[in-house]
């Protein structure tokens, strides 16, 4: 992008309808600032029409040479058909395996942890190889859904860059030698009753590990155990301490909430129960199922999140203004808390906004929900607790329980104390079980320097990473699919994690290492975990109860006990000045957030997640410094300009990305990038925001300054590609319009158009899909699930830059309104399986054809790569293998592939197949039993992963099928149906539920918004 942002704002104002200009193309919905401003770059992109299908022939080869080569290629192409199949072998088992039927997968319950909390999964296993992960429907945090991180974690299992051996100061060693050395080292430590021994773990919810560590500390009372999670939840615990005087875990029941207020809380994606919250939140908005009522979401946030994108009313405010906003809300609800000065108040929350919010909350006492984000300090959490209590929400939408985390002392004290002890030389031996503190510790603590003061450093981790490199002993950790373990979900429910495969690289577990510290070096994780649960489940019938616990993936009656706690009276006065600290001109607030795809950096070597477009920016392979359009304009910064960000004497350089909806006066930085030792995929990408972080639970900091360096960095986004030229692709209605019957009528939805091609008749099944845009939260789980299910390769940053990403499913993100604070809409888009498919008629070799059940098939072995189909596709959903993207060499990756889906090579077109392999399985099973396929028997990968059930697939000829009912909704429409493609996948219009007193934001005509504009 070359132009400054001044014309953007000007143009956007016009586009948003601030003034009418006859000759201007009125862009009601826009996807990027470039598009809105119609910059030269963007026009060029449009002129080329389809950048992903640009000619690959950039070599300076003349026409003659080209023709010669083509002639030779054609002549030789025929010969390839005359080869014999290479000889292959069949290797049967030696002993009978009664449970294994070759060709039919088995599913095993297990769990993955993030931030220590469990997400219950079912792992699909093909003859001992785990290939795909699904949610465990019985698990409270999953309810059958998964997130993108869980979907992609299967790639980590097979990652050839994982650490494969014990290493002692860069020399390869063995586990046995490590045990011997450890025993020798522990002798003097035992004599000192553990003095100088420190154990550092990530957040632990595992009951077994907690018991082991407690026992170890009893044995060695002078030793200490610290927990550190760079993206932890310590502010929530600390806030509860302020409010209730004790540590409390708070969970929410969104299914009972009618009015939801988020104070910088991204509850749809970052919490341990986000999948469940998303399901419950969307169930309260699913107008197709419950047309009588709809919940309403108010969001005040600093940096745009997918939660903010779902808001009915959204305020972008820099993070330090959220506490005054919470105080204003509490004050309006009659709580005695300090208020910001009235002069500042109007700038923080507009009066009409606050009035509407308070009236809503008062009208829905007991059915409201105020949630504070982890990015906010404890005081905001305490305020939220007080508001919820005042509104009678506690016990209904808000539930307090005993903490799920083991030993929930404040992580800040604990970790900060550890680091200061290390600096002071009081730590003799440091054993780190997981984590990568050299990378993730806040830069201000100077952990690397502190580590150098420790005599013996031991690190257990999956990768030989930044921390391992500085340690005396590195022990490879087993992946969660390789090892026994246990963990608790957000509500305390315990799950036994069972392995699907023996460790590929000899990985060990924290359980084994702690056992070794306790002098029981030979114990396996299986024995340790089973021993613990033998005590819990009882000796009687233990075999049965263990089997049941492992099989179900949840252990009944292990949920945390609820607590009846009251807010103490003094909490509101803890801070003397309720006003935000002074905000000098030229300074910014720095906001830190975990990255939406690689989280705190632990997924940095996962190519699927690196290439997964970030939900709002659609950036891949990089992080950026996010600025609001106004702030960027003020400082004359454009996308890709490199800036130096300085905070308390530390500085980093990062490229700018202008993000509509970002609050003015703050710069958002995402953690997890800037890895120096991550592996072949993740090393050297992006900048490291941990460097600037003051302490482990500071998610924002005052006093950051930025300076333009003059450099430019190429950021790669999938956003400008696949443009759909200003037509009414996304439709939005308000809940009021829906109820009054005004929704759904549209100028393009006339009677079906005639076609020159003959109609198809479907006597059997006729597959179809409906995508509910009200339910789509843009979380990307479907995209990752599709990638895992369909053996889709990654292409790398350079190829994404020329539009050659391969994901079959993409989530388009559209904006509406002013760039300062626009509405955001997500639209999942993949092959729509058109009834009159433009791709089919242009294929010269009939490699893409209609089948008798209505799906549009891509036959890879027939495809010769003309790309005519893609050229003729109005939705731009076909993907072409320009190069050999699939890694056919790395042996471990071969194990990962879905054996039911062909692996494509160079020169072949591919696209969404409606998971034809799943249809085939169901069809064959049904035909063998001489019955029709039941509704819900075929579930596509995207549908299965979706936390909000936004995707429904089924047989349109089945009158009882859910998909058919949804097709009858007034909200149902086909994207670009005016082209008479007759798409089989249709979309349900987005429905929003704004407060009647505030400006109605939605509708087909662009309307300006009052709030957020200046």
């Amino acid at each position: 992008m070359t132009s400054t942002l001044l014309p953007i704002l000007d143009e956007s104002c016009r586009a948003a309808g601030c003034e009418s200009r006859g000759q201007a193309r009125r862009t009601a919905y826009w996807r990027s600032l470039d598009e809105l401003a119609e910059t030269a770059d963007f026009k060029e992109l449009l002129a080329r029409e389809f950048p992903s299908q640009l000619a690959v022939w950039d070599d300076p080869v003349g026409r003659r040479n080209f023709l010669k080569l083509m002639a030779a290629s054609f002549a030789l192409a025929g010969i390839t058909g005359c080869t014999r199949e290479p000889l292959e072998t069949i290797v049967p088992y030696v002993r009978a395996q009664p449970e294994i039927t070759p060709g039919r997968p088995l599913y095993f319950a297990t769990a993955m942890t993030r931030g220590g909390y469990a997400l219950g999964l079912l792992a699909e296993s093909h003859m001992g190889r785990p290939t795909k992960l699904e949610g465990n429907p019985d698990h409270p945090a999953s309810l059958g859904a998964t997130d993108a991180l869980a979907q992609a974690s299967i790639l980590d299992l097979y990652d050839p860059d994982r650490s494969q051996t014990v290493i002692r100061r860069s020399v390869i060693e063995t586990w046995d030698h490590f045990l011997t050395a450890l025993t020798t080292e522990l002798g003097p430590i035992r004599e000192r009753r553990g003095e100088g021994l420190r154990i550092l773990t990530e957040r632990v919810t595992s009951p077994t590990l907690a018991r082991q560590l407690e026992a170890l500390l009893e044995d060695l009372p002078e030793a200490n155990w610290h927990q550190f999670d760079p993206a932890g939840f310590d502010n929530a615990y600390e806030g509860a301490r302020q409010a209730f005087g004790r540590t409390v875990e708070t969970r929410y029941d969104f299914s009972r909430a009618d009015i939801i207020v988020s104070l910088d809380a991204d509850f749809l994606s970052t919490l341990p129960a986000s999948l469940r919250y998303a399901r419950e939140f969307i169930d309260g908005r699913r107008v197709s199922a419950r047309p009588t009522s709809m919940n309403r979401l108010y969001v005040i946030e600093s940096t745009p999140t997918i939660t903010g994108a779902m808001a009915d009313h959204h305020l972008a405010r820099r993070p330090s203004l959220i506490e005054p906003a919470a105080r204003m809300l509490a004050g309006q609800l009659g709580l005695d808390v300090g208020q910001p000065s009235s002069a500042a108040a109007e700038d923080i929350v507009p009066q009409d906004w606050l009035r509407a919010l308070v009236s809503d909350l008062n009208a829905h006492r007991g059915a409201g929900l105020v949630i504070a984000g982890e990015g906010q300090p404890p005081s905001v959490h305490a305020l939220a607790h007080a508001i919820n209590q005042a509104l009678g929400n506690v016990g209904s939408t808000v539930i307090h329980t005993v903490p799920v985390m083991a030993r929930p002392r404040s992580g800040r004290e604990s970790f900060a104390n550890l680091v200061s002890d290390m600096h002071a030389g009081r730590v003799d031996t440091l054993v780190m079980l997981g984590g990568n503190p050299v990378f993730t510790a806040p830069g201000m603590l100077d952990f690397e320097q502190a580590l150098a003061q420790v005599r013996l450093r031991v690190h257990l981790s999956e990768y030989y990473d930044e921390t391992s490199f500085l340690c005396d002993w590195h022990v490879p950790a087993a992946h969660y699919l390789e090892s026994w373990g246990d963990a608790r979900a957000y509500d305390g429910t315990a799950t036994i994690m069972q392995p699907l495969i023996a460790p590929l690289y000899g990985g060990r577990t924290a359980y084994e290492l702690v056992a070794a510290l306790a002098g029981k070096g030979g114990q396996s994780s299986y024995e340790i975990v089973q021993d613990y649960w033998r005590g819990e489940l009882g000796e009687a019938n233990f075999g049965d109860s263990w089997q049941r616990a492992v099989h179900d993936g949840v252990i009944p009656q292990t949920a945390a006990d609820t607590l009846d706690v009251r807010v103490t009276s003094s909490f509101g006065n803890e801070r003397a000045s309720p006003d935000a600290p002074p905000f000098p001109d030229g300074e910014l607030e720095a906001v830190f957030r975990p990255d939406p795809t690689i989280w705190d950096g632990r997924f940095a070597n996962n190519a699927w997640l690196q290439e997964l477009p970030k939900p709002l920016t659609k950036l891949t392979w990089d992080n950026a410094a996010y600025l609001s359009p106004a702030t960027a304009e003020q400082r004359a910064l454009a996308n890709g300009d490199v800036i130096e960000i300085t905070l308390e004497g530390r500085s980093i350089e990062a490229p700018v990305w202008t993000l509509p909806g970002q609050a003015d006066g703050c710069v958002s930085l995402t953690l997890g990038y800037g890895r120096s030792k991550s592996g072949r995929v993740g090393t050297g990408l992006g900048y490291n925001a941990y460097t600037l972080r003051p302490n482990a639970d500071a998610w924002f900091a005052h006093g950051a300054s930025i300076r333009k360096t003059g450099g430019h960095y190429k950021l790669v986004t999938t956003q400008g590609h696949h443009n759909m030229e200003g037509r009414d692709i996304v439709r939005v209605h308000t809940f009021e319009q829906l109820q009054s019957g005004a929704a759904g009528q549209h100028k393009h939805d006339a009677e079906p158009l005639p076609s020159l091609y003959p109609e198809y008749e479907y006597t059997g099944n006729a597959w179809g899909m409906v995508i509910d845009q009200t339910a789509c939260i843009g979380c990307n789980a479907c995209v990752a699930a599709c990638q895992a299910e369909n053996n889709i390769p990654t292409v790398g940053k350079d190829q994404v830059a020329v539009g050659r990403e391969m994901q079959w499913l993409r989530i388009d993100r559209y904006y509406h309104g002013s760039p300062q604070d626009p509405e955001t809409y997500f639209q999942p888009m993949m092959c729509l399986h058109c009834e009159m498919a433009p791709c089919e008629v242009v294929c010269p070799v009939a490699a893409t054809v209609h089948d008798s059940e209505g799906t549009n098939n891509m036959i890879y072995n027939r495809c010769v790569g003309t790309r005519y189909c893609s050229n003729n596709c109005p939705y731009k959903v076909r993907r072409f293998n320009y190069l050999q993207y699939t890694d056919e060499i790395t042996p471990s990756l071969k194990l990962m592939r879905n054996p039911d889906v062909t692996v494509r090579s160079r020169g072949v077109m591919e696209k969404c197949s409606y998971c034809i392999q799943r249809i085939s399985h169901a069809r064959i099973d049904a035909k063998r039993e001489m019955r029709p396929i039941r509704d819900g028997e075929v579930i596509t990968a995207c549908q299965q992963a979706c936390p909000t059930r936004a995707i429904v697939f089924g047989n349109l000829n089945d009158t009882a099928a859910e998909v058919r009912k949804l097709k009858g909704s007034p909200l149902n429409y086909g994207v670009l149906a005016e082209l008479n493609t007759q798409p089989r996948t249709t979309h349900l219009a987005r429905v929003t539920n704004p407060h009647p007193d505030l400006a109605a934001p939605a509708g087909d005509e662009p309307k300006p918004r009052d709030e957020g504009n200046s």
Binding site: G78, G81, C82, T83, R84, E85, L87, E88, T89, I90, V91, P92, Y93, V94, R95, A96, Q97, T101, P102, G103, R104, T763, G764, V849, D851, S852, E853, T855, N857, I859, Y860, N861, R862, D900, V901, T902, V903, S913, I916, Q917, S920, I924, K927, R928, M930
Partner: protein
């Protein structure tokens, strides 16, 4: 400059130009014959196997049912290969010292599996499912031939797509009684061509006593030739 070609070579030149059509047709026909030749299809080629297993002896001589060893043929895409334990079920009692069975005993002793060479091998982009074929009355014999007369296993059909489509377009020519799926020597009836008994019989026809088997087994004839039935 002396002439390189004698004038008589003009005849060759003319013949080449005017015969171009015939030459091209000839090459095409030759290519067609070549890809269907046993050299390419490997029909009737016996593969080296760790044990010279005789289907003739086990199936015909002893009357062991196909499913005794190929256990998953009715439930899965893959028919299943017997594990060493299945072999040893009998051979720990009979032919205990046969030198031919040493690889089987070694596998049982060491826990190392036997490695068989595939005889019927489809390309990786073709997804064949045994269970649905046997459930709809397509007999083992239809594709594998008279296995009960094969001392050593060999392929009897080309496995070309045209061969698959023959049946998928005209299933009535292949479908027989479900009771006979695992039997051999189903007699062709009616006007069907008498087949070579040693070759596979894609022409095994329904008998007069079993009319409309295709309808009876609910075989979706309109769907069978869809590409995605086999390619996905």
């Amino acid at each position: 400059m002396p002439q390189i070609f004698h004038p008589s070579t003009n005849a060759f030149a003319k013949a080449t130009i005017f015969g171009a059509v015939f030459i091209l047709v000839g090459i095409s026909v030759a290519a067609g014959l070549f890809v269907r030749s046993p050299y390419i299809t490997q029909v009737d080629v016996v593969r080296d196997q760790p044990v010279p297993f005789s289907h003739d002896h086990h199936a015909a001589g002893l009357g062991i049912d196909c499913r005794y060893c190929h256990t998953t043929v009715e439930t899965s895409s893959f028919a299943g290969m017997p594990n060493t334990e299945t072999c040893m079920g009998c051979h720990s009692l009979i032919w205990r010292n046969s030198p031919l069975l040493e690889p089987v005993r070694a596998s049982w002793r060491n826990g190392a599996p036997l490695v068989w060479t595939r005889v019927y091998d489809l390309p990786d982009y073709v997804y064949f499912n045994h269970s649905i074929h046997v459930a709809k009355g397509v007999a083992c014999e239809n594709c594998h031939g008279r296995v009960d007369r094969m001392p050593l296993m060999r392929k009897v059909v080309s496995l070309h797509m045209e061969w698959c489509l023959d049946c998928h377009r005209h299933p009535e020519n292949a479908v027989g009684s479900l009771a006979d799926v695992f039997k051999f020597g189903r007699k062709p009836v009616g006007g069907a061509t008498q087949i070579d008994e040693d070759k596979a019989s894609t022409a095994v026809a329904t008998t007069d006593a079993q009319p409309n088997l295709v309808e009876k087994y609910k075989i979706a004839t309109t769907q069978l030739a869809d590409c995605v039935i086999c390619h996905r």
